[in-house]
Symmetry: C2
Subunit: 219 residues, 2 copies
Amino acid sequence: MKEYKKSKLNSVKRGANRATYDIEKINTILDAGFIGYVSYNFQGKAIAIPMAYGRKGNKIILHGSNANRMLTSLLEAKEMSMTVMHLDALVLARSGFHHSVNYRSATLFGTCKKIEDKEEKNDALFCFMEHMMKGRWNGIREMNNEEFERTLVVEMTIETASAKIRDVGVADEPEDYNLDVWAGLIPIKQIATYPIPDKGKPESMEIPQHVLDYYEQNK
Amino acid sequence: MKEYKKSKLNSVKRGANRATYDIEKINTILDAGFIGYVSYNFQGKAIAIPMAYGRKGNKIILHGSNANRMLTSLLEAKEMSMTVMHLDALVLARSGFHHSVNYRSATLFGTCKKIEDKEEKNDALFCFMEHMMKGRWNGIREMNNEEFERTLVVEMTIETASAKIRDVGVADEPEDYNLDVWAGLIPIKQIATYPIPDKGKPESMEIPQHVLDYYEQNK
């Protein structure tokens, strides 16, 4: 399967020309970040909460405390959706109407379950950490039993999804190109600045390669 | 009123020590960005969609096409919630369990309505644009009637809200500070890069002050 099947749920209606259902493109959007907005119903009201996530294939890993209200609601509902968006530019047009932003966004729909099996849970936490920062898992202090038990790991299986991408320039009305109005793009990006060691031993330690790699790839 | 009243809906349960209900602090978070995640129910499923917004006092302005599925759903429900989050750092601890992120997030709950009155609608669109980029409204080509009619403007009144802020360093277990594990922060921020003029007249025009100001404040 190369594309998610379109249904009423995931079909993009507005700006359908910017929509894609291509699995690889959607995965690329997911892998460009690690914060997603997970929606859930609380007393009939839809609420979106930012959550860190990891991805492996068509699985999304979330975790939190055993008492996390959102995660326990998701597990009761057995289904969930998550949206990820990267802002790439302000699009300043000659008319207010054509002002826009460039972005990449993906909305996922799927089922979810608690991971109970010890080995699976450990693998899921590894996937989560690797997604955020490759190489971080090795070398940190291992999780102890109490921490492991207090952590709730939820696995979402992506059943369907859609993405929207706007990555073009200003699109004004033909007659407006003659106006003396400055139009253009202001590119926007999320960057990392140089790592700051914690007090104590890290102050005199070399910054590890995986941390420097993250900085170099995101600066 | 300096704080939003706490209720079951907006009370922060997990990490309550990081929570605030202070209206000014929440407004500061809202004004540091212009993309919010609006939740709505579609056929019983909660979906979060990223939306550009403007703020004026306790009002949030959204807009879109008259046929926008999410906006029309919100107007039917007459209530909505929106979440805004800024990612500030990766917090790399000595144990996996204490890895975290620094961030500022706000979740708003309130009522919403369509703005029908022509003058109010115009004011709302001005507020929206000013929130994204101060000074942009003046000088662009005025909206024509057709554009005005095709634009749906929704005003949310914030009834209650909460925010969570993590802005401290690594918080490891006391006994872990002796480990030879590098720990620290990687600061993350969203920046603007230098404005890129559209083809045609803007290529030979001076970049206007409001655009340069935006760049200077966000670079």
